[in-house]
């Protein structure tokens, strides 16, 4: 009984620590109730784009910031909003809970839902579509399906850049969709690692004096515009991820991966490592 209480306590501490670290690092990514009063033109253009999309003359109730997109809310509690890219004022996403079923049974299969989402995906510009890869793993939440496409450059996942379509499984409506801002064009993204997976693994292990999690296979992702090796270490109480910058060998992140990784993603083995002069110089030091 005591052991059970102790494990509950440990679990609680773990939750507390992990939620705290997420809060600390997420500050600049999601901001609630932002003010746009410092720039009247920006505020007016964002409101106009959102109003046009919804065919309404109502003023937005409030604004949030979600990874660079400004969310213009037209109903409280995230029930109805439009996401606008503040560079160019294009609509990059929306959610409207009013389009969701009020009652009824599942009428749409995952495959039918995918056809609805797929048709919507096809409307994206060719340049964006060509970099998005469909993820076959479809999550099901509250009688709706989530279809996702993740951005990949040269077969490497660009973390936190994706396209999502949320289809209602009862009435077939698209109740939400969202396209991330692509921070860097493909030509400005570096995908070739300068340090090997095994060196990166050792950097993580030695830096945190912890062993790698058994059976975890490190993989390569793109964070912002450069390659990062992801490894998983066994901490004293719980495992945690460590990202090692694959160009320089520095620690890129610890704790949680800064975005969703599709199930089964494991790029890295087939990627050729090209040591730069910078890395060669460090390795040649006595």
């Amino acid at each position: 009984m005591k052991a059970k209480k102790f494990s509950f306590l440990l679990f609680f501490i773990f939750l507390l620590i992990s939620s705290f670290s997420i809060l600390v690092t997420a500050h600049s990514l999601y901001l609630f109730g932002i003010s746009l009063d410092f720039d009247k033109e920006l505020k007016s253009n964002i409101a106009k784009s959102a109003q046009k999309f919804l065919s309404t003359s109502e003023e937005p109730l409030s604004f949030d910031l979600d990874k660079g997109l400004v969310m213009a809310h037209f109903e409280p509690e995230q029930r109805n909003y439009v996401e606008i890219n503040p560079l160019g004022y294009e609509v990059y996403g929306m959610r409207n809970e009013n389009l969701k079923h009020k009652e009824g049974q599942f009428a749409i299969t995952k495959q039918q839902g995918f056809q609805i989402a797929g048709k919507f995906f096809e409307k994206l510009p060719e340049k964006i579509k060509s970099e998005l890869k469909h993820d076959s793993d479809v999550s099901e939440v509250d009688n709706t399906y989530f279809y996702k496409w993740f951005r990949q450059v040269n077969g490497i996942l660009v973390i936190d850049e994706a396209f999502m379509v949320n289809v209602d499984a009862v009435n077939g409506n698209i109740i939400a969709w969202r396209l991330s801002i692509f921070d860097y064009p493909k030509s400005s993204i570096e995908t070739v690692p300068a340090i090997s997976k095994n060196v990166a693994k050792r950097v993580a292990e030695i830096s945190f004096n912890a062993p790698s999690v058994k059976d975890f296979k490190p993989y390569l992702i793109i964070v912002v515009n450069g390659p990062v090796w992801v490894n998983k270490l066994q901490g004293q109480f719980y495992p945690f991820f460590v990202g090692v910058n694959a160009k320089e060998g520095s620690i890129a992140f610890t704790g949680t991966i800064p975005g969703e990784v599709p199930k089964g993603y494991n790029a890295g083995d087939e990627i050729k490592v090209i040591e730069t002069d910078f890395i060669k110089q460090i390795y040649s030091q006595k």
């Binding site: 600390v24 690092t25 410092f38 720039d39 060196v199 990166a200 460090i282 390795y283």
Partner: protein, 148 residues
């Protein structure tokens, strides 16, 4: 005797074929760690010492920081005097709690916000804006470096 010698030689060859690769990765990893530990050593310290406290003026603007990197020495007490050159900006050193400061607050033009921390741990942290300040807000990053 000959067989034993052959077996020992084979074991030696096997070990020497396997061992160095593992060692080489660890050696290179240690060199990288050492390099990144020392890379800030040559950077000049920011601001000036006033009554035993390192005082640094920090100016936020759309979409950057002046200075872009803040360098202090481990063990120092650091005082930031934060101002903004244009629109309201927030101030946060990601992963560091600044006593008495709510990162959701913003600094307005004409204000001088004074914040103090103890630089107890060596390393580098991102200095970010926490009040939406325009389309370039997400990329508004500087560095806070504590060197040994």
């Amino acid at each position: 005797m000959k067989k034993l010698f052959m077996a020992l030689a084979l074991i030696f060859v096997f070990i020497s074929a396997c061992a160095p690769k593992e060692d080489k990765d660890a050696i290179n990893a240690k060199k990288l760690i050492e390099y990144h530990k020392k890379k800030f050593d040559s950077l000049p310290l920011s601001g000036k010492i006033a009554n035993g406290v390192r005082e640094i003026g920090v100016k936020a603007f759309q979409y950057g920081w002046e200075p872009e990197s803040i360098v202090v020495k481990k063990g120092e007490k650091v005082r930031f005097i934060v101002e903004t050159a244009d629109v309201p900006h927030g101030f946060e050193l990601e992963g560091i709690i600044i006593p008495g400061w709510d990162p959701d607050k913003s600094v307005r033009k004409g204000d001088k916000t004074i914040l103090e921390i103890q630089a107890d741990e060596a390393g580098a942290w991102d200095m970010v804006c926490t009040a939406y300040c325009g389309p370039g807000h997400t990329g508004m990053k500087g560095k806070y470096i504590v060197k040994n």
